[in-house]
Amino acid sequence: MNRSTFFRFAAPSIIMMTLLMVIPLLMAIWLGMQFMTYTNINEPQFVGFQNYIDVLQDSRFWQSFGFTALYMVVVVPAQLIIGFTIALLLDQVSGFTRGIYLAIFLLPFIIVPIVGTLMFKQLFEPSGLITYLYQTILNTKFRFNEVSVKVLILINGIWYVTPFAIVTYFAGIQTLSQDLLEASSIDGANRWYKIRHIVLPHVQSLTIFILLISIMDAYRIFDNVFVLSELNPIYKADTIMTYNFQTAVTVQRLGKANAMAVLTVIGIMVVLIPNLIQSYKEQVEER
């Protein structure tokens, strides 16, 4: 395929992405330099870098950054460990039973995140099933407070993202070399040895892949926090995205919200750029 045919085929997609991704991103930088609310959206007032400085000096922004980091540190490793364990166990059952388990495990992944979280929350309402069990077993009342809401967000996060790791690891384990496993059995390797020295190295590239995707997803976590904390500041459970949303919708400072979005983009670039350079090299080699 020559260059001009390539551009003719790819044109609709490239134009779409330029108009609605590249240009908006540049616009966000410029909109971040305006003092802008919903009332003066058509004649914003230029304030330079003031909004960016405001964001960096905003203690609630750093607080939400802290909770996002906590979410990442808890949910991402939990997802990897539980996902790998369940995939290994799933490999042990076969046929119809395996299909049933897989279908059940996939459910949280398929469902609308808002709806899934809402269903999850129903268990913890005053009339909920878990609330009742919690009260009967621990003999104390279950309440929504700063700690419990944060814990719920973490458990719900694991509930929602683990299926992805299970399916990816499971597909990886299916492509293991049987010869290698048999040879190691003959050499007297036990199960733990095989998992450590054959299975784990085999799925290493998948681990990195899941790691990257889930770090980026954790960074922009929004839907489940929105439902579980109801954006109530007393729970101090804001993430970067929910605080950014509140700045735009509740506080109505559109300029500052744009500035915050730009700063979060710069933040994720630290993880993203080395990875992009790596993929660029791979793609050029593959060519």
Binding site: M1, T5, F6, F9, A10, S13, I14, M16, M17, L19, L20, M21, I23, P24, L25, L31, I41, L89, Q92, V93, Y101, I104, L107, P108, I111, V112, P113, I114, V115, L118, M119, Q122, S127, L129, Y132, W159, V167, T168, I173, L181, R191, K194, L206, F209, Y219, F222, D223, E230, M241, N244, A248, L254, A257, N258, T264, I268, L276, Q283, V284, R287
Partner: protein
């Protein structure tokens, strides 16, 4: 890996898997129960597993007033839906071309959706449901059409420009959504397009385009180049070779990608919440049921959650193989 044979080991495996299955299913189980309870049962402090089920929550959610011959209409609609789904399932065995059957079923569904508000007095929730269908179908159609062209050319062109576009797309996919959505709001208010389906569809297409072209490209890569080269020797040009030779064998890959695009569009909350003030889709409508002091919120939230989940489960049941294939092969996720 070889299977564990000891009975203790087998029991242990199933105990862990069943515990995880309970963790996965518990919210669905409980919410479905709640949605069929009356207000008193749903708010009972000791959870009721056994109770007299009632449809009243679903009625209140979907209907503004109960028609006199409600039961008859409900049975008629149920029958119509079952017939249409059977037609879809058994299309292969009907001695008419599959495409014709699918087209007839699609038209019948549209007529049905159009007819329901004229038969019964539906509530706002039905309008949100229709909005969701329009936005989802619109996004899938536009996204897949332009994505196929781009995915195909990216799979076939070896120049550096293709690599550059792919990597740029990968980068854009990873960025937080708000960095795009806030400028979309500004664009929308400048062009008076806020609250229209057009703006929501176009922006959803753009936001999902990087994912779509990567996934479609990986499916196009699996198709050997020789195929279209042979067609071009036989007198096709690039475009006719693409439409007549490549597209017909691409259907499984297209369905997989379309399924993921469908899920992304159906699930989108943040974008619709900011760009549409009244023309909500289901996730935004349902989010209104969280919180608040009104005790009815509990059962209505449960009924709305179940209502929004059923269409997705039906779609997934139809295309289960494509979903797992896409997850395993594409190694990409929204």
């Amino acid at each position: 890996m070889e299977k564990i044979k000891s009975p203790v080991g087998r029991v242990f495996i199933h105990v862990v898997l069943i515990s995880f299955a309970i963790y996965s299913l518990m919210p669905f189980f409980w919410t479905t129960l709640q949605s069929f309870k009356n207000l008193k049962d749903a708010n009972s402090r000791t959870p009721k597993i056994f109770f007299t089920p009632t449809w009243e929550n679903y009625q209140e959610l979907w209907l503004r007033s109960m028609p006199e011959n409600g039961a008859a209409i409900a049975y008629f609609l149920l029958l119509a839906v079952v017939i249409l789904i059977c037609l879809l399932l058994f299309a292969e065995y009907i001695p008419i071309r599959n495409g014709v059957v699918y087209a007839v079923v699609a038209v019948a569904f549209v007529v049905l959706l159009w007819g329901i508000p004229r038969l019964v007095d539906t509530s706002k929730f039905y309008d949100y449901f229709i909005n969701t269908i329009i936005v989802t179908v619109g996004t899938v159609v536009v996204s897949i059409s332009i994505g196929c062209l781009a995915g195909y050319s990216l799979a076939r062109y070896a120049g550096l420009a293709a690599v550059f576009i792919l990597i740029a797309a990968l980068g854009f996919r990873a960025l937080p959504r708000l960095a795009f959505i806030l400028p979309y709001y500004w664009i929308g208010s400048a062009t008076n397009l806020l609250d229209t389906h057009l703006l929501v569809i176009l922006t959803l297409v753009a936001v999902n385009q990087p994912f779509t072209i990567w996934m479609l490209r990986s499916f196009f890569m699996e198709i050997p180049k020789e195929l279209e080269q042979a067609a071009m020797v036989d007198g096709c040009n690039r475009l006719t070779a693409f439409t007549r030779v490549i597209m017909p064998i691409m259907w499984p890959g297209i369905i997989s990608t379309a399924l993921f695009t469908l899920l992304l569009a159906y699930n989108e909350f943040l974008l619709v919440r900011l760009l549409a003030q009244t023309n909500w889709t289901l996730p935004v409508a349902i989010s209104r049921f969280t919180g608040g002091e009104d005790p009815r919120h509990l059962t209505l939230a449960a009924a709305s959650a179940v209502s929004a989940t059923i269409p997705i489960i039906v779609v997934i049941l139809f295309f289960q193989k494509n979903l797992v294939k896409g997850l395993a092969a594409g190694a990409v996720k929204g």
